[in-house]
């Protein structure tokens, strides 16, 4: 085990800002990408579902007419 305490761990031998700055930004960006990509997927599925719904309504209307 490298670290004597949590404080030592966070300090990173005086390089905390640089090390944690790197890891935090990476984590943030990766998380952001995951959120964005999940949203895109959901929007795409919703769009496809909407298409089907519109088509169904359209067909019903035409059926009535």
């Amino acid at each position: 085990m490298n670290w004597e305490s949590a404080n030592h761990f966070w300090a990173m031998g005086g390089y905390g800002f640089f090390v944690w700055g790197s890891y935090a930004v990476t984590a943030l960006l990766v998380a952001a990408e995951l959120v964005l990509v999940a949203r895109r997927m959901r929007a795409a599925r919703a769009g496809a579902a909407r298409d089907v719904a519109i088509e169904r309504i359209d067909a019903e209307r035409r059926g009535r007419a």
């Binding site: 490298n2 390089y15 990766v30 990408e33 088509e55």
Partner: protein, 264 residues
């Protein structure tokens, strides 16, 4: 309104198994099945890699603990380069065989590639301050990574600027391939530019024989980055498939399922 002739041309029922999965319709469920295993592998490798990197690998003699940035910096730099090559490969395949799936693959990869390029730049800059005393120098490797980032941005900006997906695909492919031809030229020219008349004012102060635990951590993180990239790209390619193929039968069935599911 039946488009059976359409789907028939798109999904070759016999022939190469490789080409079988080259149609969005067949690839979509396959990608779905691959997804969870990929995520699990990615998470597992990340945990293993971070544990090795922070708790097993020793403090470096010359750089202290700042070197621990290596565990994301190097995987990110590697991924950014590899993804560009893969992207250009898919683009070439798309232009030659006219398979839409390959274009989708390449546009699904681009944002992730740009992300890794940016992370490599960011972590490199943060690493540079303690080791070189500055966030940025015009070193060959740094410069070419920056240009690579611009190449990604150009590809994405071009695709975003074209409404028609078919046109966007092919125009993007062209610039990706021309860029790929240029990447090695850029790399060597920059390297030469920097070292020719100046003498390296900076060099990477890495110990020649890296502690094997460091190497292990780095490799684990690199594999994790691979798995993550594959996972994200799969999700994105699935989204792109739905967006682009909204008029086809298979997406309609999908939409049917979703609409039905949300009602139930």
């Amino acid at each position: 309104m039946s488009d059976s002739p359409l789907t028939a041309t798109r999904a070759p029922s016999s022939g190469f198994s490789l080409f079988y999965y080259a149609s969005p319709q067949t690839f979509f469920p396959l990608a779905g099945k691959l997804l969870w295993p990929t995520w699990i592998i990615a998470i597992g490798l990340t945990i293993a890699g971070l544990y090795t990197g922070f708790f097993i690998a020793p403090t470096d003699a010359t750089q202290g603990d700042s070197y621990r940035i290596i565990f994301i910096h190097v995987p990110a730099a590697w991924m950014s380069m590899v993804i560009y090559l893969v992207m250009a490969f898919w683009c070439a395949v798309g232009l030659i065989f006219n398979t839409r799936l390959s274009f989708m693959m390449s546009s699904a990869l681009a944002p992730t590639g740009a992300l890794w390029a940016f992370i490599a730049l960011w972590t490199g800059a943060l690493w540079g301050k303690p080791t070189w005393g500055t966030y940025w120098v015009w070193d060959a490797r740094l410069t070419s990574e920056l240009i690579l980032f611009f190449l990604y941005c150009g590809y994405m900006a071009l695709q975003a600027a074209i409404d028609d997906p078919r046109r966007a695909d092919r125009a993007g492919a062209l610039i990706a391939i021309v860029g790929a031809i240029n990447v090695p030229i850029i790399y060597f020219s920059v390297k030469w530019w920097n070292t020719l008349h100046q003498g390296a004012s900076v060099s990477l102060t890495q110990s020649p024989s890296m502690a094997s635990t460091m190497l292990t951590g780095m490799l684990l993180m690199a594999l994790a980055a691979w798995a993550y990239t594959i996972g994200v790209a799969l999700v994105r390619v699935r989204a792109i498939m739905i967006e682009r193929e909204r008029h086809t039968d298979w997406v309609r069935q999908l939409g049917n399922a979703t609409a039905g599911g949300s009602k139930a």
